[in-house]
């Protein structure tokens, strides 16, 4: 029983990170039709930004303060770089979807290589606030405390995004644009302004996932963005491209399935199960989970 509880909460923690990455991917694809392969790079930016800032603040204030400032820096960097990418690389290729995808591929490769060149390809240890390394007892299970942070962060982001989408004008534009971009233009609204915003939002969420992954894995490494990105893509497709709620639900399902299968099956089983799940969803309901609600 306690193992099950541990697996569940760990699975939710993993799902939380998937959601953070998937939310941006989903909105970007839903609104702009861009399959953003560079999203993993945004995560890496957030991860390294957090780590770098924390390192430079050594000795100043408490470890918590350093982590929070580091994370704030990482997030700001993620947002800035994402917005820059949209303006410089994506916008000029408007309506040329294949080129946009290809450009993000090039960026992903060049960006990760750059990070590797500067800081080396090896893992760098990440200094974590001690509480996050401790465990809390829940129904007999010793749950690592960082999981609470991840789940809380994802929940907060989910709520903030929903509020943004439902209560602001840009949110309204984005929701409409995901459905029918040209009609939004036909209402006199330049949807392209929302593009940069959506990219920036995606950048922040991915960077947050990066900052959290430093804690989850205890280290920073250049490939982390790419390896997590693949699962984020799967989550996005299972959940339904362009659907925030779908991404959230799918992230939970994928995170949990991965944990359970890896434990009750064997190592590696989790990834296989997730992929099979994707296959099943695509064959039975190509629109993804949220597709059911569309009509």
């Amino acid at each position: 029983m306690s193992t099950f509880v541990l697996l569940t909460i760990t699975g939710l923690g993993l799902g939380a990170m998937y959601f953070l990455i998937a939310s941006g991917l989903s909105l970007i694809y839903g609104l702009m039709g861009v399959l953003n392969f560079a999203h993993g790079f945004f995560l890496t930016v957030g991860a390294y930004g957090t780590w770098w800032m924390e390192l430079h603040l050594t000795g100043i204030g408490s470890i918590w303060l350093r982590y929070l400032i580091g994370a704030a820096f990482g997030l700001a960097l993620g947002a800035a770089i994402a917005a820059l990418v949209e303006l410089v690389l994506i916008r000029p290729l408007y309506q040329r979807h294949i080129e946009q995808v290809l450009v993000t591929v090039g960026l992903a490769i060049a960006g990760t290589a750059l990070v590797q060149a500067i800081w080396g390809g090896d893992q760098r240890a990440f200094v974590t606030p001690p509480w996050l390394n401790e465990t809390t007892d829940v129904l007999g299970a010793k749950v690592p405390n960082d999981r609470w942070l991840e789940i809380a962060a994802a929940a907060v982001v989910f709520v903030l995004l929903q509020l943004f989408l439902r209560r602001t004008r840009y949110g309204l534009i984005i929701r409409a644009g995901v459905e029918n971009r040209s009609m939004v233009q036909a209402l006199g609204i330049d949807v392209r302004k929302a593009f940069t915003l959506v990219f920036a939002i995606g950048g922040v969420a991915a960077a947050l996932a990066g900052a959290l992954s430093n804690v989850y894995f205890g280290s920073v490494v250049p490939e982390r963005g790419t390896s997590l990105l693949i699962f984020a893509f799967i989550v996005v497709v299972i959940g339904g491209l362009g659907s925030l709620g779908g991404s959230a639900a799918a992230a939970v399902v994928v995170g949990l399935a991965q944990q359970y299968a890896n434990y009750y099956g064997s190592t590696g089983m989790g990834e296989i199960v997730v992929v099979l799940l994707l296959g099943v969803v695509l064959l039975v309901r190509p629109r993804g989970l949220a597709g059911a609600v569309a009509t």
């Binding site: 290729l93 290809l102 090039g106 060049a110 750059l114 439902r166 995901v178 339904g240 491209l241 597709g291």
Partner: protein, 368 residues
């Protein structure tokens, strides 16, 4: 000579020239580290030819049939790993191993393709990505210690024909790679110009029209998929022979993306584009490391030196520039870098797919 005759003569002449390379002991400084017929240079040239061929197998899917696959590496890896496993872990002979891998190279894509081709566009791309990921995971998982996990293991030389073993026989491997490249080129040419081949291109242009004509696009897509994957598996076998043993890198998504870059670099959906791209990319990937180590670059200030000494950074940046300024790749430069029709058609396909696949952004309650 007529144009047709030139079109035959030039490539044939090139192949003959390439065949003689192991006999030429000329030195080309800057371009190669040793004389042309030295094992090191021959190894590099063999890799270039090999990837020229493999890139072309990917172009068959992407540039000609318009299928965006992120999992092509999987079939290449099947060739690499299963040959190594059969030889080294199961102790089979060379012949039986080859037959086994050939069978896999036909059956696997037939089965996987039949399922994944039920969806198109982005969904298909995701499925291929996922399948490749399964392969990557299985390799790392190292079931029964067959795949060696994260570390490479050496292929059992005893099982290989003598002609392919040993540094002195690099020239044989070079010729093998040349044969592979030529074979792939001829097969793809023949396939593309055949009746099914024209239907592949029609599918890329407008799948609905093909369906309306009473042809089943599915069947033709599967044909292209199986042929392309089989040829990639064959390339995997050659690759294994060129290396000491298999490594997990060939199963990664990065590897497929590398193939994509090769194809776009050369020019998607053109006769020579993919091959040129494959050869050039492999060469650059190898040599750019040398440029990075050169005194010229080492002398630059840190800000410039660091990125410039990383080949992947240079290649990624080069790729971005190509996509921006010459989406038709190198062969496209001849047509003034206009957007090639292959990309234009794929775009239209992706856009209609998007309309079907996107769900409206769902909020949890009714808005105000």
């Amino acid at each position: 000579m007529s144009r047709r005759a030139w079109e035959l003569a030039l490539p044939t002449g090139l192949v003959v020239l390439l065949a003689f390379v192991p006999k030429i002991s000329a030195d080309i400084p800057k371009l190669f580290n040793g004389p042309l017929n030295s094992p090191g240079t021959l190894q590099l040239l063999a890799l270039c030819l090999l990837f020229g061929g493999v890139a072309l197998t990917y172009d068959l899917l992407f540039g000609y049939t318009g299928l965006l696959s992120f999992g092509h590496a999987f079939y290449f890896a099947v060739g690499v790993y299963f040959t190594a496993i059969a030889l080294t872990k199961w102790h089979w002979g060379f012949g039986p191993s080859l037959l086994f891998v050939a069978a896999l190279g036909l059956v696997l894509p037939a089965l996987i393709g039949a399922v994944s081709l039920r969806v198109g566009g982005i969904a298909f791309a995701m499925v291929t990505l996922a399948v490749a990921q399964v392969g990557a995971v299985l390799v790392i998982k190292n079931p029964r210690d067959w795949t060696g996990g994260e570390e490479a293991f050496g292929t059992d030389y005893a099982q290989l024909p003598d002609a392919f073993v040993g540094v002195l026989n690099t020239k044989n491997l070079y010729w093998l790679a040349l044969v592979y490249a030529v074979a792939v080129f001829l097969i793809v040419r023949w396939a593309v110009e055949s009746a099914p081949g024209r239907i592949w291109q029609a599918i890329r242009e407008n799948e609905q029209r093909v369906e309306v004509l009473g042809l089943h696009p599915q069947r033709y897509k599967l044909m292209a998929f199986v042929l392309s994957s089989f040829l990639a598996t064959a390339g995997g076998v050659v690759y294994l022979l060129l290396q000491t043993g298999p490594t997990p890198h060939v199963t990664s998504a990065d590897f497929t993306l590398t193939l994509l870059i090769m194809v776009v670099l050369g020019g998607a959906g053109t006769k020579w584009g993919a091959m040129i791209g494959g050869v050039l990319y492999t060469y650059l990937n190898n040599r750019l490391g040398a440029i990075g180590d050169s005194s010229l670059v080492q002398g630059l200030p840190d800000v410039l030196r660091t990125p410039l000494s990383e080949p992947l950074f240079l290649l990624g940046t080069l790729f971005i520039l190509i996509v921006f300024f010459a989406p038709g790749g190198i062969t496209g430069l001849a047509t003034h870098g206009r957007r090639p029709s292959s990309l234009r058609r794929m775009d239209a396909a992706l856009r209609t797919e998007r309309a079907e696949v996107t769900a409206p952004v769902q909020t949890t309650e009714e808005g105000a």
